[in-house]
């Protein structure tokens, strides 16, 4: 962590591009860290105190106190923001009298990156982790798989990537992911893997019949999509084939090897019953259970899938919390009978005005916010399935991301004093139908910085109070190698407060 901090100073000097003005200043940094946690989790105390005092002329003392190494890391990050290259002085300069006492407002501050619609190369993920650490985000949620491709090269079930990866080079090995996880941990970031199921599953799941395991997924690539699935491409797991759960358990344990996550994401969004309803194997099974083919019967089937899957999670990980997306299930008044609030956290991707947010809270679910009207990073581009612009258009400007306040959303729905322990925080979601390595940075940043301040500081002010710092933060990100999008002409950075009208 200290070396990373030194790296920041190196990049500041490199930016200067000249031999720095000689200086006799001496910076002495003292770090006090009282706990021995070496993995960041959702329970990690990330608080810190930072003090800078100048004594005896040119000696400056920096004192960092934090319960955990991860708090220390945040303090070093803050310290780096108190230093900069100064063109006029021809040197890196540091503010000399500082006291900061700091802790995050929310425990879960993240970005979600979809690695299935388009593959995201490891190098791009590493850079994303870097960018997150500069902003004190602590959670990288990987939407590892979807119907389009299966980039996780599972050693126990190699068929998944053989059938499902876009190409040989568009996959992650356990070794890759393990290294990514270590890298992230050093930067104060935990990785939450998601294997989306039962829907959003197609490529990678087709090998069952060839290997005598029956159909693991159904309706894969089916063309007529109306009511069958969300696509393209079509595809949903086969919940009545015992082998489906066997495969899931193997995948879970390979992912444990890679990440040892403290929460696991099961996806569970956008299930359409049409495919199950036209599949003989499913219909027969329902009949054997004394069920019909009404919606309630299919919810029963979905519940069966969730329970069987959760058993496998428990077998592999123990009773860790699991996350699911909002879905037609979470909107049903019987949802708590299907997925228990004691175990499930709900990640909200529905819009902030959706009344089911309040009802999920009232039913006892812990919540993570990614409401699509403000925290979706993929919106506003041309459609990838027809005319016009994509479904969640328009684009969400950094201002919207900044102003999206989960407590305000709850308050608007009548929940005025929610239990802070149950509002975990939020994630900006980078779905990748229309993004891959070349343009990832510009879509994540600097908007990721806006959500980071909302989740860390949760300031009472709106975006105008943050503008000057946000615009500067974008420059800092670029200096550190993140290809962040500019939000204004550089002139506005040089002439503060003149660009945004009241």
């Amino acid at each position: 962590m200290v070396d990373i901090f030194r790296g920041y100073l190196v990049s500041m000097e490199a930016y200067g591009g000249i031999e720095p003005t000689p200086s006799n200043s001496m910076i002495v940094v003292k770090i006090d860290c009282s706990q021995d946690d070496i993995r960041i989790t959702y329970n990690t105390d990330e608080s810190y105190e930072l003090r800078i005092t100048q004594e005896l002329g040119e000696v400056v003392r920096v004192s960092i106190t934090a319960p955990t190494a991860f708090g220390v890391r945040h303090a070093l990050e803050t310290l780096s923001q108190l230093a900069a290259w100064d063109d006029l002085a021809g040197s890196v300069v540091l503010v000399n009298e500082v006291f900061v006492s700091d802790r995050p407002f929310y425990r879960h501050r993240g970005l979600m990156v979809d690695t299935s619609r388009n593959f995201i190369q490891l190098g791009d993920l590493y850079r994303t982790v870097d960018g997150m650490s500069y902003n004190k985000l602590n959670t990288l949620h990987l939407h590892l798989t979807d119907a389009h491709s299966f980039p996780f090269d599972s050693p126990s079930v190699p068929q998944m990537a053989v059938y499902g990866a876009y190409s040989e080079r568009k996959k992650y090995t356990v070794t890759d992911l393990k290294a990514l996880n270590e890298y992230a941990n050093t930067r104060g970031i935990r990785i939450v893997p998601e294997l989306d199921g039962p829907a959003h599953s197609a490529y990678g799941w087709q090998w069952g019949p060839d290997y005598g395991l029956g159909d693991l997924a159904l309706c894969v690539n089916r063309l007529n999509r109306t009511n069958v699935c969300i696509g393209p491409p079509c595809g949903i797991q086969n919940p009545v084939n015992e082998n489906t759960y066997g495969v899931l358990e193997l995948l879970f344990s390979d992912l444990k090897e890679a990440f040892s996550p403290d929460v696991f994401h099961l996806g569970a969004d956008e299930v359409k019953f049409g495919c199950w309803n036209i599949t003989e194997e499913i219909v027969d099974w329902l009949e054997d259970q004394g069920r019909g083919r009404e919606e309630v019967d299919f919810y029963y089937l979905w519940g069966y899938y969730q329970n069987r899957t959760l058993e496998k999670v428990d077998t592999v990980y123990g009773n860790i919390p699991v996350i699911v997306w909002t879905s037609s299930l979470t909107e049903e008044n019987f949802v708590e009978n299907v997925i228990t609030p004691e175990r499930y956290i709900v990640q909200i991707w529905t819009e902030s005005s959706e009344p089911s947010i309040a009802s999920l809270y009232n039913k006892g679910y812990d919540l993570i916010f990614s409401n699509s009207d403000n925290w979706y990073l993929d919106c506003g581009y041309g459609s990838w399935v027809g005319d016009g612009n994509n479904w969640c258009s328009p684009y969400k400007g950094w201002q919207l991301l900044y102003d999206n306040d989960p407590l305000e959303i709850l308050a608007n729905q009548g929940i005025l004093n929610p239990d802070p322990q149950r509002i975990w925080g939020g994630e900006a979601a980078m779905w990748t139908e229309q993004t891959d390595g070349g343009t990832l940075d510009g879509k994540l940043w600097p908007r990721g910085s806006a959500i980071a301040e909302r989740l860390w500081s949760n300031p009472p002010g709106k975006w105008r109070t943050a503008e000057k710092r946000l615009v500067h933060m974008r420059e800092v990100l670029c200096l550190r190698g993140i290809g962040a999008d500019p939000v204004q002409p550089h002139w506005c950075h040089q002439n503060e407060g003149v660009c945004y009208y009241e």
Binding site: V95, R117, P233, Y395
Partner: protein, 626 residues
């Protein structure tokens, strides 16, 4: 607050009171190493069925399986050509393996040594593509076809000794590819070397890396007769709102060349900054550049112009005036020349002197203003020798002039009052006087371009700007009646209509809440479908082909710089390129398959275009767009 100078080397004394921090530092030693990717035997192959590449399991009982890369080259109308040829063309349905060392230049018939030298440089660019293909391919695949003895020899025939591309350049070419045994001959015939360059670009699209077989592959036969529909096919890049580095501009020219675009219009200066470091007026960049490193030297522009010419691209510089001028112009009083620009850095809120911050407008009644302009023009002429010059001329608001004593006094002296008409008179005075300075530098035969504005709208009715001399670049919306007015007045038109060909729209506002002013985002589909014939027919006009010169996509840079410019320009610019080169009657759905492939091909050449679909759609043609 005191600031303290710190040197990294002085940051020595870090005391850490827990050993376990040492463990973290060990983790830092992890380095991402390049790795050899383990090839797996993919269960998938392709078949060309009804002009589509269809993914099938190899275990299905068929024999005619091919790889995706081969399928893309030979399946469907036009294979992977982008833009599609306008003349008759025919592609074969076979490929051969090829080694890049076996691509030999056999014959060049050209009328002069200047052209010989240009062709040699163009050939180097072409070889560069194959090197990149192979370099990338060998990262993944074990080379199977590397021992091929197949040879590709290239013959080029050129008629004219033309060595700089202009609006008049004949860009047509013909390309024949024939294979007999282990020998393929590609012949390119063109009037000019610029046509031949397009032929080479097309040839490069008949060759690709086959990732399944680990070799370059090439179409065995092709006949292509081709010429562009419009002579002016371009991209405008604003280098003033945010600075775009020289390196990035060179890279953008690479992309233009792949798209057979022939024009890079540089909106060099604006009120925000003045990045051109003029030799004759160094004060401009000193006062106006964002920083000493955000400038273009005279030599930079010269290099840019030469680099562009080799790639069939001409550069049109724009010095926007009289509005959109501010930073860079503040030094007049200090140097005894009086005010060269007025209301510089004023907020639009104070007196409505401009539309967006910062304000600034040239002082049209100070003769030194014209002297400075002429000096800048002279430097640009020497650096770029452009065949057309852009004078900007957009978004003039009269409030600033109206609130400036020097201006109003001059108007009184010249028998003008202060009505809107009188200010138009002043604007025309500026336009005519600065045009004389353009004439002094570039000569009277050099066409001059102006953006549509309230002035061009007015002169379309009242005259005063010579239609023989001025070309109007339309940024107004496609249904604006200024278009037929300008057309009937006799102006030649270049289209950059804001409702289809603006690349900067749809992001968050940079001056307040909501989205930026031309939102929503213009998708590639909208760009592709911006058919100028169709647009003119909307006004009941069947345009005289000589009067519609073509178009440009406009990359205004309030919200873009080096970091994200590739993804905002591409792949959408490729859509504009096919519209302007091929001008097919079809709409975007017809182009989708090739478009998506072209985007992938551009990535390989380093042009980091945005993804428009999941890669799944590239591997499963025809499934995504319904």
């Amino acid at each position: 607050m005191l600031l303290l100078l710190v040197n990294r080397s002085n940051l020595k004394d870090i005391s850490v009171n827990k050993d376990m921090l040492g463990q973290f530092i060990d983790l830092l030693l992890f380095i991402v190493l390049p790795r050899v990717i383990q090839a797996f035997e993919s269960p998938w192959a392709y078949q060309c069925i009804e002009d589509k590449c269809v993914r099938v399991l190899k275990s299905t009982p068929h024999e005619d399986f091919i790889s995706l890369d081969t399928c893309k080259l030979i399946c469907g109308k036009g294979g992977t050509l982008w833009p599609l040829p306008t003349g008759p063309y025919k592609l074969g349905d076979q490929v051969v393996f090829l080694k890049k060392e076996k691509i030999v230049f056999r014959k060049l018939a050209s009328p002069c040594s200047d052209v010989d030298m240009l062709i040699e440089k163009m050939m180097t660019v072409l070889h560069g593509y194959f090197e990149k293909m192979e370099e990338d391919g060998l990262k993944v695949t074990v080379p199977h076809g590397a021992d091929t003895e197949h040879e590709l020899s290239l013959d080029i025939y050129i008629n004219r000794c033309e060595k700089q591309i202009t609006l008049q350049t004949n860009e047509s070419y013909s390309l024949w590819v024939n294979t007999e045994g282990t020998s393929t001959v590609a012949s390119i015939a063109a009037e000019t070397c610029f046509g031949a360059r397009h032929g080479l670009e097309t040839l490069s699209q008949l060759i690709s890396w086959d990732y399944a077989f680990g070799s370059l592959i090439m179409q065995t036969s092709a006949t292509i007769i081709d010429a562009p529909a419009y002579p002016h096919r371009g991209l405008m890049v604003d280098t003033a709102r945010n600075f775009i580095s020289l390196e990035k501009l060179l890279h953008i020219i690479d992309g233009l060349a792949h798209d057979k675009m022939n024009t890079l219009h540089l909106h060099l200066s604006d009120a925000n900054s003045f990045p051109f470091d003029s030799k004759r007026v160094p004060q401009m960049a000193k006062y106006g550049a964002y920083s000493p490193r955000k400038v273009y030297s005279f030599e930079d522009l010269k290099e840019l112009g030469e680099y562009a010419n080799v790639r069939g691209v001409r550069i049109i510089p724009e010095i926007d005036a009289p509005a959109h001028a501010g930073n860079g112009w503040q030094w007049g009083s200090e140097y005894g020349l009086g005010d060269l620009a007025l209301c510089v850095n004023e907020s639009p809120r104070s007196q409505g002197a401009c539309y967006d911050p910062p304000c600034g407008i040239l002082n049209p009644v100070n003769n030194y203003t014209y002297d400075v302009l002429e000096s800048i023009y002279f430097d640009l002429m020497q650096a770029l020798n452009p065949d057309m010059f852009h004078m900007g001329g957009d978004e003039v608001r009269f409030n600033c002039w109206n609130n400036t004593n020097e201006i109003t006094e001059w108007m009184t002296l010249n028998g003008l009052s202060r009505t809107e008409e009188d200010f138009f008179h002043l604007w025309k005075y500026f336009q005519n006087t600065s045009l004389q300075r353009v004439d002094n530098v570039f000569g009277r035969d050099t066409p001059v371009i102006l953006w549509t504005s309230s002035l061009t709208d007015q002169v379309a009715v009242n005259g005063h700007l010579d239609p023989g001399r001025y070309i109007i670049q339309v940024w107004s919306g496609s249904r604006d009646f200024t278009i037929p007015r300008l057309y009937y007045t006799g102006y030649r038109l270049i289209f950059s209509n804001v409702d289809a060909w603006y690349l900067d729209c749809g992001y968050g506002s940079w001056v307040g809440d909501g989205l930026n002013s031309c939102a929503p985002y213009k998708s590639w589909q909208v760009m592709y479908d911006n058919d100028l014939d169709y647009l003119m027919r909307g006004f009941g006009i069947r345009p005289d082909p000589g009067k519609i010169l073509g178009g440009e996509a406009a990359m205004w840079s309030e919200q873009v710089d080096d970091a994200t410019i590739d993804g905002k320009i591409w792949p959408r610019l490729s859509a504009v390129a096919e519209r302007l080169w091929s001008n097919l009657p079809e709409r975007w759905r017809f182009a989708e398959r090739r478009f998506v492939h072209h985007r992938e091909r551009m990535l390989l050449k380093g042009i980091m275009g945005d993804a428009v679909q999941p890669l799944w759609c590239h591997q499963n043609e025809g499934f995504c767009y319904n």
